[in-house]
């Protein structure tokens, strides 16, 4: 969301707009997946990430995967269920 409350459609030059779990977010350009996880206070070992439909199996690579404009991420984990 922008400060005016509208949905983000355009990022300023130093940011990119990505979608995380169905919600748009602006992140600094050049940010890696590891930096995003850190900002969300998530431990990479307890989540699974799907980026643009592809599951990212190699957790150490998170530190080198740069987020790109229009990336769509799904970050999932295990919850209680039967």
């Amino acid at each position: 969301m922008t400060e005016s409350g509208g949905v983000v459609t355009q990022a300023v030059a130093s940011e990119v707009v990505i979608t995380v779990n169905g919600t748009e977010r602006r992140v600094p350009s050049g940010w890696t997946l590891a930096e995003l996880l850190a900002s969300l206070e998530l431990d990479a070992r307890t989540v699974v990430i799907e980026r643009n439909g592809t599951i990212l199996r190699d957790r150490p690579s998170f530190a080198s995967i740069e987020l790109a404009a229009d990336d769509s991420l799904e970050i999932v984990h295990f919850v209680g269920g039967g």
Partner: protein, 273 residues
């Protein structure tokens, strides 16, 4: 009776001629339990401990980014201590279920999945067409598929043919607590399949679990029957005993039913005869 006899007798009644083995992996407990719907994580852990279950099911969901990171179950459940069986609950198509299964495997614990493809929102009954399709795909990808299905023999046979390592017919709809609605169907499925048959869903109380095990099935998976009890921890203990009792009764072989009484005491030697 000598003390040694007592011990050997106990060992004998603990002995199960057909150990519980799924896809080459043996389990001590025939009771598997879900981890949903508990009032707290502490209560869930206590109930799992009381149930003696080794296999516990978990669901795959989006991380809620607006809430605390404590929400994930791995913060509460030690994956070294339990066998985590991920489900595809909530999936209504084969492709969704396959996607969830792949995500679950990427968590890195195992390649097992409790495969659900739901076909109807009101009853949560399985869509056997989608289920079979998803089973085939996942088996090809190396998954160990435990397929949640209805109590239909033909569907169960097809799932076995498709490579499912276990077939999980329902006792009654998920969360209904109605117990086993069709013992004949469950018995027939067990008799005809070579892979383990694990009854999943519908068990409401300990007697339900006992009767299910008396049909000769290999195990039971339940969640709501424990989690929705007034005292889930005590119910978990009751389910543990019921599953063991039902298994033992099955192995013992029940007496034949008769429509007439047969005295248990001698009919001879009565006074005045």
């Amino acid at each position: 009776m000598a003390h040694a006899d007592l011990i050997s007798r106990e060992t004998f009644t603990d002995f199960d001629p057909q150990p519980f083995v799924i896809a080459g992996r043996g389990f001590r407990s025939r009771l598997m339990i879900g981890t949903g719907k508990y009032a707290s994580n502490a209560q869930m852990i206590e109930a799992i401990e009381a149930s003696g279950a080794e296999v516990v099911t978990v669901a795959v969901r989006r991380v809620d980014l607006d809430r605390t990171k404590e929400e994930g179950i791995l913060h509460h459940l030690d994956p070294d201590h339990f066998f985590l069986l991920a489900n595809t609950a909530g999936c209504y198509t084969a492709s969704d279920a396959i996607r969830y299964a792949r995500l679950a495997r990427a968590a890195g614990f195992n390649e097992w999945v409790k495969l659900e493809v739901i076909g109807d929102q009101q009853t949560l009954l399985p869509d056997n067409v989608g289920l079979l399709e998803a089973t085939k795909t996942l088996v090809d990808e190396g998954f160990k598929v435990l397929a949640y299905t209805n109590d239909d023999l033909v569907a169960a046979l097809k799932l076995e043919d498709a490579g499912a390592v276990a077939v999980m017919p329902l006792a009654s709809p998920i969360g209904s607590g109605l117990g086993m609605l069709n013992p004949y169907a469950i018995r027939t499925i067990k008799q005809r399949l070579s892979v383990p048959v694990i009854v999943d869903a519908g068990v409401g109380t300990a007697s339900d679990a006992c009767v299910v095990m008396e049909q000769g099935v290999d195990g039971i998976l339940m969640n709501t029957g424990i989690a929705a009890a007034q005292d889930p921890v005590r119910m978990a203990a009751a389910m543990k005993s019921a599953v063991e009792a039902g298994r033992n009764a099955y192995l013992a072989g029940r007496m034949p039913r008769r429509e007439v009484a047969v005295p248990s005491s001698p009919s001879t030697g009565m006074l005045g005869s």
